[in-house]
């Protein structure tokens, strides 16, 4: 059974090697045949004609954190639904209504974050 999964591992490895290989190839070709003239201006971070004037690793909007946290909640929800969805035909209405209770609790939370404005990006 497990040997079914071996080609997947192999594909992941080959994918990585292909990426690294293409990049190396590009590096070699551009060095040998193309132009390769780095200068300090060219290597500085791009900033629309200005010289970069502070570190780029600046503070950013807290809402990105919020989205990430909400994502974890809902993605777990999806993960909970997967096994239920797979056996729904066998477990019948009892299984269906059990999951409805669970979904109802989630919807309450979803409505709460909606009301609180966690989903607003003005």
């Amino acid at each position: 059974m497990l040997q079914n999964y071996f080609p997947i591992l192999l594909f992941i490895i080959i994918g990585t090697v292909a990426g690294a290989g293409l990049m190396t190839l590009g590096g070699v070709f551009s060095k040998l045949l193309g132009t390769d003239k780095p200068d300090p201006e060219k290597l500085s971070p791009y900033e629309c004609g200005f010289e970069a004037f502070e570190d780029a690793r600046i503070q950013f909007d807290v809402r990105y954190y919020l989205v990430a946290i909400l994502f974890i909640l809902f993605d777990l929800e999806v993960a909970f639904l997967v096994p239920w969805a797979l056996v729904l035909k066998e477990i019948g209405s009892f299984g269906f209504f059990s999951m409805l209770i669970f979904l109802a609790i989630l919807v309450v939370g979803f409505a709460y974050e909606w009301m609180k404005g966690a989903l607003e990006w003005e």
Partner: protein, 353 residues
């Protein structure tokens, strides 16, 4: 001669080294057409959008411009690879590989015809969901390692956008799992051929799951950062976002990954909702009704055309509109439809016994 052939087959099927070599051959057989597909996807994109804007698109290199993709590849190969002085060099060059790897590896479980699949595993769909969500790491690392403000902003936007739409996508796929009761992608396709409409176009998943299909495809547009959801690279505001500091082949890897993901989303929607290799005609019609790889290919091409069509038609979404669509429209729609389908399956009118 026949003996030699039999020996070779034994080597490829029972010897460990032989099995590895056989698997590598199969992987190459998947990868090479895929990369060629990406090359001609760029050509098709320029041609289709060209004609939609009453231009003719590339027509100089080769017959009808058919050699244009190869000219582009040669150009990208020869371009200087810039390593910005402020960047974290190692991460900067690892990021494109991390974006490309999931885009390629997701194809390991994609079935092309019954039995024609690299790894026919029982958790195929789960694997696709898992590996495609790894792509966002590459984007975040690219934006962080570039140490440029545009790249950083682009990466933050891309990460928030991709994870938001992944939820809608996950919920849409839950609906497919409910009706097919399997994670094996070949099994999901087979199940669509057993409907009341005799396995024709009306028995595929897209009809009963139409809202999920629409949500899945639009979420796919957003997931691959394609127009009209390309705020993460929006050339007129944050000049290509996380890819801004990349050049030459390191940029080409991002490009390759984006197009491979487009083809993957098209293939997934054709397999999940449009019946994969099944024929749109009832199975009772001879020849036309037979399942075939050609149908799979035509469906994928059809979905890919929608990507180009959407790009030529819609103006770019604003970021707040984009997040509103993902969280306030798609998630409620998919949740409601999952409950409806679930309730439908409890009644005696269920299509999926």
């Amino acid at each position: 001669m026949l003996d030699l052939f039999k020996q070779l087959m034994d080597f490829l099927h029972y010897n460990i080294l032989g099995m590895v070599i056989y698997a590598i051959i199969k992987i190459v057989v998947i990868m090479v057409p895929l990369i060629l597909g990406v090359a001609y996807m760029t050509y098709a994109e320029r041609k289709v959008i060209g004609y939609m804007q009453i231009r003719i698109g590339p027509n100089r290199v080769g017959f009808f411009g058919l050699l244009q993709p190869f000219a582009d590849v040669l150009k990208l190969l020869l371009k200087e690879i810039i390593a910005p002085s402020a960047a974290s060099k190692a991460l900067f060059f690892i990021a494109p590989i991390l974006v490309l790897m999931p885009a390629l590896a997701a194809w390991a479980v994609m079935p092309f015809f019954p039995g024609v699949v690299l790894a026919d595993v029982n958790v195929g769909l789960l694997y696709v969901m898992a590996i495609t969500s790894l792509g966002v790491y590459g984007i975040i690392i690219a934006g962080w390692a570039s140490n440029s403000k545009y790249a950083f902003l682009g990466a933050m936007r891309a990460a928030a956008q991709v994870v938001s739409y992944e939820l809608a996508m996950g919920f849409a796929l839950i609906g497919v799992m409910m009706v097919s009761g399997s994670l094996n992608i070949s099994e999901i396709v087979m199940q669509q051929g057993r409907g009341i409409a005799g396995g024709s176009v009306l028995s595929w998943n897209w009809l009963p799951l139409l809202p999920l299909f629409v949500v899945y495809f639009i979420a796919g547009l957003a997931e691959t950062n394609r127009a009209p959801f390309d705020v993460t690279e929006g050339e007129s505001e944050i000049v290509a976002g996380h890819m801004i500091e990349y050049s030459g082949m390191s940029f080409a890897l991002f490009f390759l990954a984006e197009y491979m993901n487009m083809i993957l989303i098209s293939a997934m929607s054709s397999v999940m909702f449009l019946g994969g290799w099944l024929s749109p005609f009832p199975a009772s019609i001879p020849f036309l009704g037979a399942p075939s790889f050609i149908w799979w290919f035509l469906k994928v091409a059809f979905m890919l055309f929608f990507f180009l069509w959407a790009r030529a038609t819609f103006p770019r979404y604003r970021y707040d509109q984009l997040m509103r669509l993902g969280w306030k429209v798609f998630i409620p729609v998919t949740l409601v439809w999952i409950v409806l389908i679930g309730a439908w399956m409890q009644t005696s009118f269920s299509l999926w016994k």
